[in-house]
Structure formats: structure tokens, C-alpha cells
């Protein structure tokens, strides 16, 4: 088939286009899955039927879109609520300086659709939470390139909520595989999650190190590091002095704001003979910047896309189920099977055990929900059923309800009318579904 100079008809393939993939789809091999059947149908499935969702159009997202498009996936959706920033350009290669300020999902889709004929990337410039089951249910595979643990847990919870159980056994047709990638500097990881079957995000929550916050007394009266001085300016001086007007909160993306914090931090530092406060450090601390390069994102996104290809085609055994990568000293990978947690708060289907004395306060329960390493909730809302009626025990995210339910925090569980074995339903930003807990009085 001769190809005209210039444009190929939109959607049209050209001679040899899929040669690199066909070898794996049209030939039998020793390492394929048992259900693999060589032939032309699999390529057709990829090109015409398979619907894949990419979450995030940033460092990993851009790489994922390219990788999937060149692996035969055509029906691709991408979700990202962010707009392009100049600091993205060192690795998010679908964006140029002229695109700064535009929505990432939109620009990414435009670029890939233009560069890869026939590829149809549909952008969604929204938060993942803006969509419900009806949206997510439509996809064969979901690949995440997120930069927040909370968002990952939400996605994880969403896919778990789609599962159907019959006699305690999960209906395989309701499982949507989730491939999750993460990077930080020269390190990264990629994992494959089959919700309801293999370890989910919450099963291995302890793998995510908690965010480091400096103690307030250090910041307020005993700074030693330049970071302490910066946090002093950010946390204490800004709210007090409101340098850019009443109620104007600190915007990490506003250079003038950062400059103000920088100057204040320098003043504090010189008071205590601390060196090392720089504009770059200030920005890093205020925005909680994670260093990033193109190469690590390339590696992790490639691993994720390879798994997506394997899942969609059965051409090879899928990663089971966690890959860790680092190229600080030589190159290092470690592959292992993360295990399911028997009583995982997200995927185990059993109500979580809450052991408290009946004279413990509701405040104690709240503290446990936020501080436990296996739960790490952010602002849980606790409800229960008392005398046949739904009752909110405490809810933080709506000011009026918070005020009304705040006195409950100081009451004991007994005073609140809760009995041994009582079920509590807890809602939180880390999960789209409420988590069920069962109260177990220890005394």
C-alpha cells in the first residue's frame, strides 16, 4: 500500500504500522497466558473495542498516553483537573511554553491525537471525584499516574465499590484492573491491582511513608534548620500579617507570595544564625515540591503500559504484583507479590474492628481513625443508627454540622448511647464508599 506524501486518511493505517506488535499477537509463544489465542482478533480488540482510562496527564500521564497510543490502544480517556505550569515542561513533553495556563488533559489529548493518527484521546478537565460508577464502569483497564495518596485511595475505593459478590465470591466480570504508578526523584514503583482479588492500595498503606511535619514548638521557638524558618513564615506570620489582604491565603504558585515568605524566613534565620534559606528552598517547602525528572517517569510509565498491554491481550503473564525501581546507584529493581490484608478497611468486605472502652470519648475514636497507619483518614465523618434513625455523631467538613456535633467529641461512647457491637459508618475523602466499623467494648 503506497502512502501519499503528506496526510494519511484520518484513522487509516499504513503498511507495516503494527508490525512491532503483531509478532506478539499473531504468534503463539511459550510465555503467553493459557487463554491467549494467536490471531488478528486481539489487535482488532485493541484498536476498536478496548476502552482504557488514564488518570493524570502530568509526568506519568504524558508518558502513559504516548505508550498506550503506540501500543494499539485507540479509545483512551484522560482525567486531570490541573493546568500547565512552566515547571512541568522539563518532563511533561506534550506541553510547550505556549500552553502554560491551559488544562493538561486537553492539551495532552490534542497532541497525541495529532501525532498518532487514528488515536482518539478524550480529555476530562475534572477531578476524579466528579465522576461516579457509571463513568468508571465503562472501562476495561484503568491506569493511574497520580501524585497523591488520597486520590489513589479514592480510585481504589471506587473500583472496589463496583465489585459484585455472590456467596462471598467476587464476580470476575465486575473486576476492572487498576495499574498504578508513582515516582519521586530517581525512584518509582508500578503495581497491578485486581480489586477484590489481589492486594489493593489500602492493603499496603504502610508502604507510603507519612508526610513529615515539623513540631510546632520547633517552628515557634527553636528553629535550627532553614526549613523551620520558612514554616514559621508560612504557618505563623502569614495568617497574622495577611500581607496581601484580608483572608488572602498563601498561593504557592504566586511568586510574590513566595518572595514574601522567603524574605520573612531570611529575617528569622539571621535572628538565629541559621544559614541556607534560599528562594528555591522556600518554594520547595511551601509547595511541598517533589523533585522530578523525565527519565524516572519514562521508566515507570513504560512498565505500567506494558502491563496494560499484557492485560488487554493475554500475550504475557501480568506482573504479580509490585515493582520497585531506583537508579541512584546503578539500576535496581525489585519485584514482589504484595499480600492482601485480611481485614483491609477498603477491600476485605468485613466491618472493621474498633476496640474501645465504653468510657472512651468519641474524640479518641476520631484520633484513632486519623492516626492509625492502616487507616490514615483525613477528616472522617461518623454516623450510626440509633433507635432506628440515622444519627451523625461528628462531621468536620460542613461548618454548621461541625459546630452542632462538636460537643459529642467530649462525650463517652456510652453517653452517646452506643452499644457493644454497634456498627458505625465512616465517610472520608480517602474513599468513595463509607467504611463500616464494629464497636467492640473492651470494658
Amino acid at each position: 500500500m503506497a502512502v501519499d506524501e503528506g496526510h494519511v486518511a484520518c484513522g487509516g493505517d499504513w503498511d507495516g504500522r503494527w508490525n512491532h506488535l503483531k509478532k506478539f499477537l499473531e504468534r503463539s509463544g511459550p510465555f503467553t497466558l493459557p487463554d491467549f489465542e494467536p490471531g488478528t482478533e486481539t489487535l482488532q480488540f485493541l484498536l476498536e473495542t478496548c476502552k482504557i482510562l488514564v488518570i493524570g496527564a502530568g509526568g506519568l500521564g504524558c508518558e502513559l498516553l504516548k505508550n498506550l497510543a503506540l501500543s494499539g490502544f485507540r479509545n483512551i480517556h484522560v482525567v486531570d483537573m490541573d493546568t500547565i505550569d512552566i515547571s512541568n515542561l522539563n518532563r511533561q513533553f506534550l506541553f510547550r511554553s505556549k500552553d502554560v495556563g491551559r488544562p493538561k488533559a486537553e492539551v495532552a489529548a490534542e497532541f497525541v491525537n495529532s501525532r498518532v493518527p487514528g488515536c482518539n484521546v478524550t480529555p476530562h478537565c475534572q477531578k476524579i471525584q466528579d465522576f461516579d460508577e457509571s463513568f468508571y464502569r465503562k472501562f476495561h483497564i484503568i491506569v493511574c499516574g497520580l501524585d497523591s495518596v488520597i486520590a489513589r485511595r479514592w480510585m481504589n475505593g471506587m473500583l472496589i465499590s463496583l465489585l459484585n459478590y455472590e456467596n462471598g465470591v467476587v464476580d470476575q466480570s465486575t473486576i476492572i484492573p487498576l495499574i498504578d504508578g508513582g515516582t519521586e526523584g530517581f525512584k518509582g514503583n508500578a503495581r497491578v491491582i485486581l480489586p477484590g482479588m489481589t492486594a489493593c492500595i489500602d492493603c499496603t498503606l504502610e508502604l507510603y511513608p507519612p508526610q513529615i511535619n515539623f513540631p510546632m514548638c520547633t517552628i515557634a521557638s527553636m528553629p535550627r534548620l532553614p526549613e523551620h524558618c520558612i514554616e514559621f513564615a508560612r504557618i505563623l506570620q502569614w495568617p497574622k500579617e495577611e500581607p496581601f489582604g484580608d483572608g488572602v491565603s498563601l498561593d504557592g504558585d504566586n511568586p510574590e507570595h513566595i518572595q514574601w515568605v522567603f524574605m520573612k524566613a531570611q529575617e528569622r534565620a539571621s535572628e538565629f544564625n541559621i544559614t541556607g534559606v534560599t528562594y528555591r528552598l522556600t518554594q520547595g517547602v511551601v509547595k511541598r515540591v517533589i523533585p522530578a525528572v523525565a527519565s524516572t517517569n519514562a521508566v515507570i510509565a513504560a512498565a505500567c503500559a506494558t502491563e496494560a498491554f499484557k492485560i488487554a491481550t493475554s500475550a504475557y503473564v501480568t506482573l504479580n504484583n509490585y515493582l520497585v525501581f531506583s537508579d541512584v546507584d546503578g539500576l535496581y529493581t525489585y519485584t514482589f507479590e504484595a499480600e492482601r490484608k485480611e481485614n483491609c478497611s477498603a477491600c476485605s468486605q468485613v466491618p472493621q474492628d474498633l476496640q474501645f472502652s465504653s468510657s472512651a470519648k468519641l474524640q479518641d475514636v476520631l484520633q484513632y481513625l486519623t492516626e492509625s497507619t492502616s487507616l490514615q483518614m483525613k477528616s472522617p465523618a461518623i454516623t450510626t443508627t440509633l433507635q432506628g434513625k440515622n444519627k451523625t455523631l461528628y462531621l468536620q467538613t460542613v461548618a454548621s454540622i461541625e459546630e452542632r456535633t462538636r460537643p459529642n467529641l467530649c462525650k463517652t461512647l456510652k453517653e452517646l448511647g452506643l452499644a457493644d457491637g454497634q456498627e458505625l459508618a465512616v465517610a472520608d475523602v480517602t474513599t468513595p464508599q463509607t467504611v463500616l466499623f464494629k464497636l467492640n467494648f473492651t470494658s
Binding site: L21, K23, N67, F272, D327
Partner: protein, 500 residues
């Protein structure tokens, strides 16, 4: 000009936090040559162009085929039939206007060196030229679901290796004069609670170590039992309130937690000792690279003034303490920003003296020669027949196949079965020729025919990320490159590094 500089700082902000301004400067002064704009090649370049390498040149005599466009993001359909170097340069250049992109489309490249159709041939001949010219050479290849990278560099020195979990250099076992004096200036017993609770744990451990010495013949706690006894000593040192219950002293908690590592003997690692015993360290001439001159200087210091240990690193970790005590202690250890540039370099070297690394790779000739092939490494790895080493042997075998049949195995559908047996012959002749008594499972021979030298994009992208970062390590001289063969198995998502 200034506006451009500011824009670059913003653009490269996320990577400047990893290799600093001096690392970025090295990158911007670098010129990289890519031979063959395959998917693997353009993916590597993409990851070098984005961070702002100074310039690149692509050498490629091939014309773009439909197949090429199918797996390469930097080739488009309107470049089919055109020179591949030129086509790829356009789309790579477009990624970053700070970078200067060039191409050479002639089959005969600069230096009248003819590019052979035979991949291996090209590699070995180019390898010899670059080895003599002392230009680092990175050979990368994606073959089916296997990626392979070989670094060929005679000697690469690293001062800033950025080790992940380095132990602190506290010198508690042999405190230098200023540290000793500073420790002496504290009298824990006479302190008020506020001061007592905000004394750096390093001081606390030092003080109690003195007590320990007087009762243990000046020997440090050595084993678990002794360290536990020392920890108990520390616990006893915690202030008590009126009721005799211990107060909340976080600095003492820190001291107890750090006993394990703080009491280790200060000594030079074998890696650094090896560097000191190198010939290059002995025979300093006007041509000797700065690394070895400084290494020699440090070695002389160690042997004379240093009493067998390195110059003090100068940094301490953060710890519970009031500002004044912490800053004073920090200054005792010597933390102070350097003045002149050369002083900066020397200070950088001293600060990193415990983490110096030298990477020396064997040449391709050594790897491929029957006399010097690394038989031990190959045979011991093959004790596990599914080790990544089998993939290396298969890559060597398919090159042998190409030499005999002028095509790679399994490229043509109708020949797959036939090629499997022919490939097996190549595998066996390779093993025999090199005297390797290992066996290669048939499954791998089958797989390497099945893939018909295809280059799936995702595997090329993985290798592209790996290779680019190794190139950046060489250019910036920060972080440690691999030595010398890296194999990635996308089927199992595993990898290994061999020194061949």
C-alpha cells in the same frame, strides 16, 4: 538574557533539586551523539533533550519505513521515505528550544567510518574507536520484550555519589579537639530542665560515653549487651520530677535511639581505600585529572594529619535542641559555606570523601574475546536457568544468527519454525566456542524467534528512561553509573546488572 535565565530556572526547577546548578551546567555543555533513530534511540534522546542537554547529533543512514512510524513517537507519516536522522531530529528538537539538534544522514559518518548493516559489527568497531578516544559509549537495544544496555567507559570518577542511607560522621569514638572542647563546655548535672531537655543528643551520648569509658577501660560498647547497658545508662540520665518519675526528654529519646549507629568506629571504607591505593593516586603528573590530585591530597592528609581517618564531613542531622546549642554544635563540625570556587571544589571533595566512587568498565573487545570472556559470571548466574543471563546469551546468539543468515530469526512468518532450529544451532555454537557449560531452555529460543526482532514501544521507552539517566550520570558526574551490562525483562518485570 536575565529573563531567559529566570525562565530556565523555573522550567528546570524540579531537576535542579536533584543535581544542582552545577549539574545543570554540565548538562548544558554536553553534546550527545545518537546512532540510529530507532524507537529506543529517540526515547533516550527525548529524556536528554527535555532536561536541557546542550546539543545532540543523530547519525542514521536509514530511510523512515511505515514500521518505524508505528513504534516511534518522533517520526510521523509524512517522513516515510525520508532520511530517519533528519526526520527524528525535527520532532526531537521541537521538544526544547534550549537544545541544539543536528543530524548526519550519510552512511559514512565523520572520520570516514562506514556503518555496517550488521549491528554487532558496527558496535564493535565503533566501540574500539570510542575506547581509544576515551568517549563514553552506551550500547542500547530493545529486542522483543527484552531491553539491554552496555556501558563502555574506561574510567569514570564520581565525587557526588549521593548515597541513600549514609551513616553520619560524628567522631564520637575519637572526638577532634574542637569537638572535645565543646563537649567539655557542657555540664549536664548542673543544668536546668529547659537546657537539659534541649541539649543535642550528640553531646549527651558523648558525655555518657566518658562515664562509660571510666568504667570500661576506655573501650566503646561493642556488642548488643553492652549497647543495651549503655542505653540504660542514658535512661538513668533522664531528669526525674518530684515523684521520681522520668520527665519527658525527647533529646534523651533521640540519644537512646541513635546509640546503635553513633557508637560505630570511624573508619575508611574499603571502596575509598581502593581508590587511595590506585596507581593514579601515586603518580601525579600535570595531566592527572583533578579527581586523582584531590584524592592524593586527601590520602596524604589521612596518612599524616588525619591519624588514619578522613577529614571531617562537616554535617550533622537535625535533632531536638534549642537553636543556639544546635548552631554552635553545627559550627564545631565545620559546616560553613565555602568562599572561592576552587575552595568550593575542595570542600565538596572533602565532604564526599567517604563516598567517592570509581567505575571502570571492560571494553567490548574484552567481553567478546574468547580469552577474556567472563565465564565465571555467566556460568554462575546460569545456575538459575531463568536468570536474566539467559537473555544475554540469547542476544549474543541472535547476532550470530544474523551473521550467518543475514536476517534476524523469526522476522518472516513462514520461516519461524525453521528459524527456531537454526537459532538453537547458533546458541549451541556460541556456548561451545566460549566454553560455557550451561544449558539454555528451549522456551527462550522459541521466544527469541517469536518476537522476530520487534521493538515494542513500551520496552523501548523503559530502556530509554534507564539509558538517559545513565548518560546524565556520566555527564554531570553525579550519582553512580552501572557497570556494565543491564538486562531488563519486560515479561517478568525484573532486571539484573552483570559485569561482563
Amino acid at each position: 538574557m536575565a529573563a531567559n535565565k529566570a525562565a530556565k530556572e523555573q522550567k528546570y526547577d524540579r531537576q535542579l533539586r536533584l543535581w544542582g546548578d552545577h549539574g545543570q551546567e554540565a548538562l548544558e555543555n554536553a553534546h550527545v551523539c545518537l546512532v540510529n533513530a530507532t524507537a529506543t534511540g529517540t526515547e533516550i534522546l527525548k529524556n536528554l533533550v527535555l532536561p536541557g542537554i546542550g546539543a545532540f547529533t543523530i547519525v542514521d543512514g536509514h530511510k523512515v519505513s511505515g514500521e518505524d512510524v508505528g513504534n516511534n513517537f518522533f517520526l510521523s507519516t509524512n517522513s516515510i521515505g525520508k532520511n530517519r536522522a533528519q526526520a527524528a531530529t525535527e520532532l526531537l528538537q521541537e521538544l526544547n528550544s534550549d537544545v541544539s539538534g543536528n543530524f548526519v544522514e550519510e552512511v559514512r559518518a565523520a572520520g570516514s567510518y562506514e556503518m555496517s548493516q550488521i549491528w554487532l559489527d558496527t558496535c564493535l568497531r565503533l566501540g574500539a574507536v570510542l575506547w581509544n578516544a576515551e568517549v563514553p559509549f552506551l550500547v542500547c537495544r530493545t529486542y522483543g520484550l527484552v531491553g539491554c544496555m552496555r556501558l563502555v567507559v574506561r574510567e569514570h570518577t564520581v565525587v557526588e555519589s549521593h548515597p541513600d542511607n549514609a551513616l553520619e560522621d560524628l567522631r564520637l569514638d575519637q572526638p577532634f579537639t574542637e569537638l572535645k572542647n565543646h563537649i567539655d563546655s557542657y555540664d549536664l548535672d548542673s543544668m536546668e530542665k529547659k537546657d537539659h531537655s534541649h541539649t543535642p543528643w550528640i553531646i549527651i551520648v558523648a558525655k555518657f560515653l566518658e562515664k562509660w569509658y571510666s568504667e570500661h577501660n576506655f573501650q566503646m560498647p561493642k556488642n548488643y549487651k553492652e549497647k543495651e547497658a549503655f542505653r540504660e545508662l542514658l535512661r538513668q540520665g533522664i531528669l526525674k520530677n518530684e515523684n521520681g518519675a522520668p520527665e519527658d526528654e525527647e533529646n534523651f529519646d533521640e540519644a537512646i535511639k541513635n546509640v546503635n549507629t553513633a557508637l560505630n568506629a570511624t573508619k575508611i571504607s574499603s571502596t575509598v581505600e581502593d581508590i587511595f591505593s590506585c596507581d593514579l593516586c601515586d603518580n601525579i603528573t600535570a595531566q592527572t585529572p583533578a579527581f586523582w590530585v584531590m584524592a592524593r591530597a586527601v590520602r596524604d592528609f589521612v596518612r599524616d594529619d588525619g591519624n588514619g581517618i578522613l577529614p571531617v564531613r562537616g554535617t550533622i542531622p537535625d535533632m531536638i535542641a534549642d537553636s543556639e546549642k544546635f548552631i554552635k554544635l553545627q559550627n564545631v563540625y565545620g559546616f560553613s559555606p565555602p568562599e572561592s570556587i576552587s575552595e568550593q571544589e575542595i570542600k565538596m571533595f572533602c565532604k564526599n570523601a567517604a563516598f567517592l566512587r570509581v567505575v571502570r568498565c571492560r571494553s567490548l573487545e574484552e567481553e567478546y574475546s574468547i580469552e577474556s570472556v567472563n565465564k565465571d559470571e555467566i556460568t554462575s548466574c546460569m545456575d538459575n536457568p531463568d536468570s536474566e543471563m539467559v537473555l544475554y546469551l540469547m542476544l549474543r546468539s541472535i547476532d550470530r544468527f544474523y551473521q550467518q543468515h543475514s536476517h534476524y530469526p523469526g522476522v518472516y512468518d513462514y520461516q519461524v519454525e525453521e528459524d527456531i532450529s537454526r537459532l538453537k544451532v547458533c546458541v549451541n555454537s556460541l556456548l561451545q566456542e566460549y566454553g560455557l557449560s550451561v544449558s539454555v531452555k528451549d522456551d527462550y529460543i522459541h521466544e527469541f524467534c517469536r518476537c522476530g526482532s520487534a521493538e515494542p514501544h513500551t520496552v523501548a521507552a523503559f530502556l530509554g528512561g534507564c539509558a538517559a539517566q545513565e548518560a546524565i550520570k556520566i555527564i554531570t558526574q553525579q550519582f553512580v553509573p552501572f557497570n556494565n551490562t543491564f538486562i531488563y525483562n519486560a515479561m517478568t518485570q525484573t532486571s539484573a546488572t552483570f559485569q561482563l
